[in-house]
Point group: C2
Chain length 405, copies 2
């Protein structure tokens, strides 16, 4: 099966999560992505998690780097040398309708500034990931603090902020990169125009909370939203413990979901009486939100009296919207049983077996291949020959002079 | 300034966060997006946050709906009627190279099944957001529980899971939708092929944790990662309290960031002695991670002895990577001072002033317009005339029969 972006070539000079996620997404849709790194690897090359969980050698393979850069070709160049810089600039601006696309997160390299590159290829598509819009560095954990999420997470009112562990803004930024590249290609195919598209992690986070209406809420309220613990904001949804200690997350956003939940738990009459006593209409989402603690207290004994298997069977039969709290080891076990087609096995260069993912986008029902683990610098010669037309003697000379890895 | 997707027309039959975020992203890049809803609105039409914070009327405007659907045209149709269904199918499959693009999150409407629509327009691009890949419903909070994030959030080892408040997977899915639409357009322009692209929220979450290497780590470790509180996994980064109670998040991923942090806090000799005593090399990220509690304890008094202003000035001058914990009311105040160009004011249909965002993608330095707040059903007549070529009498008849809103 052919993939939608076959033929497209992208150069990626980026590190950590956001830029590489953008490149990986394009690679999984069929684009040829060339990741360019300094000889010896960029600062993300050995990032955790690593093989051996810190007990292995200092150069233990990184599950993270392999997974975020799978399906790409790896080129290493000494970018402190003029000759190396010229090679990288030539790769970025090589002619061809399906070339001339760069994703980077570079700060302060004058030779990679957009105007310098555009002088070589006027229709270049250049998507640059930044921390702040002015180029200062920022990471997921700092921008998340700045937009106020950790302060409304957890249940301890007035307590210390609770950081998220998922680098959510990095992932959103990564998919914004792939969106930006493809939107620019749409335009270039029609107008011939290139594009310089900048994208700051801090702006992605600001836009994320603003788009959900949360800044409007804060502006109206004049103070922070109280912490809700595990309750879903603006609706009914919370976790319950089963008799065997397993926990489930149960949500009733719609009237139908709320009806199913009342019915299966045999609480229809309780809630009818409560509605009368409290002059409330729990078929309305905002009322379920207002009375969330009361609803949870009424439902809690039903879960506490049943083990996970019983809860699971009954909720599914009643079409309640729910999910089980699982550990990642349980996700791994489900993968081993073949229950998650989106997951895939990935062999690292040192032979270690690991787990990665295919594209969650199913094209005609297929996730497509996940892509192979990259080997740092392995594809340097192949790419120089293919894209720049260099011969064996020229490439040999570059190796001898230490310009490429 | 022209925007990259100008000319493109997309029909959106989706609700809540993921699908509408995809459509909004395309609209902000210049596409014409037509959101189709049932008469009276979909289940997300009054979602929180709402004007009045629950103290207003039952039909209070939703900051959430307005913000996630800004810049789109709104069409309302009675989709229980055959005539209404025919209208919607005709809108989706209307001829034109820059038409024939559908984003939906529909479950079980046979008349909107992909094969039915493709019979009318073979090159249709149809991106369908799902809960699970088999079509069963799931929401951000249930899939997040299932991939194991809440179990490694917070600091209380063995305690109850801590849900995130940001619907992170919804946002990632939304940007995956825009990526999928544009990749399919890239392919259609070359091959003439349409595409049926399915995308399950559950798969986006599984892929997210797998791509970071976290499932590989769990597989190797054989048990869950311990909770780290506010520490950054695999590196050094944690929050500190200043003397005035303000908190900052400080991160040292790279050797340069670590050197800057030691220098500004005057702890170079302390850490040199510690490295000797503990036989550690803190220039290595994995060593900073292993000794994160010790490092934090050494640095803590420096922050505790200074107020935020002093900490801020000194960290900035030293080029430390850090961010301040702010409340959303502080973000709002900064917006009022014009300090966040990505944010924009949005007037709701009832006249309420609210805050939303422009695209975080800056095209030639510009975020572009945020887009106007939608008014439910306002654009029905205009769209029917423009896309389907219906005349005033025909549209009047549809209104009379209650087929359109």
């Amino acid at each position: 099966m052919s993939r939608p972006l076959e033929g497209l070539q992208v150069v990626e000079c980026a590190s950590f999560v956001a830029g590489p996620t953008g490149g990986m997404t394009l690679a999984q849709l069929g684009a040829g992505v060339i990741r360019v790194d300094p000889i010896g690897g960029n600062t993300d090359h050995r990032r955790w998690p690593v093989v051996g969980n810190g007990t292995g050698p200092a150069d233990a393979e990184s599950y993270y780097w392999a997974s975020l850069n799978k399906g790409k070709r790896s080129v290493t160049v000494d970018m402190r040398s003029d000759e190396g810089r010229e090679l990288v600039a030539a790769l970025i601006t090589a002619p061809g309708t399906d070339r001339g696309v760069l994703v980077d997160n570079v700060v302060g390299r004058r030779w990679m500034a957009n105007d310098v590159l555009v002088a070589r290829r006027p229709d270049l598509i250049h998507v640059r990931v930044q921390g702040y819009p002015d180029g200062r560095p920022a990471v997921d954990y700092t921008v998340n603090a700045e937009v106020g999420i950790p302060q409304i997470t957890g249940s301890e009112e007035g307590g210390a902020p609770v950081n998220h562990v998922l680098p959510a803004w990095d992932l959103v930024t990564g998919l914004s990169v792939s969106t930006g590249v493809l939107a620019a290609l749409y335009d270039r195919a029609r107008s011939g125009r290139g594009a310089y598209v900048e994208l700051a992690l801090a702006d992605v986070a600001l836009a994320g909370v603003a788009n959900l209406g949360w800044l409007s809420e804060a502006a109206e309220r004049g103070r922070e939203r109280p912490r809700h613990g595990n309750h879903v904001y603006g609706s009914f949804g919370v976790d319950f413990a089963c008799s065997d200690g397993a926990r489930v997350m149960v949500v009733a956003l719609t009237e139908g979901q709320w009806a199913a939940l009342r019915k299966v738990t045999g609480t229809e009459e309780v809630f009818a009486a409560l509605e009368q006593a409290l002059d409330a209409d729990l078929t309305k989402e905002s009322e379920r939100y207002r009375l969330r603690e009361t609803i949870a207290a009424v439902l809690k004994p039903w879960f506490a009296a049943r083990d996970l298997k019983t809860v699971s069977d009954e909720l599914d039969a009643a079409r309640v919207l729910w999910g089980r709290y699982q550990g990642m080891t349980e996700v791994v076990a489900a993968h081993r049983e073949g229950r998650h087609p989106v997951l895939a096995d990935l062999t690292l260069p040192d032979g270690t077996a690991s787990i990665t993912a295919r594209s969650p986008l199913r094209w005609g029902g297929e996730h497509g291949p996940a892509g192979e683990a990259p080997v740092l610098g392995r594809d340097t010669d192949e790419v120089l020959a293919e894209v720049l037309g260099l011969g064996a003697a020229e490439i040999g000379g570059l190796h001898d002079r230490g310009v490429v890895g």
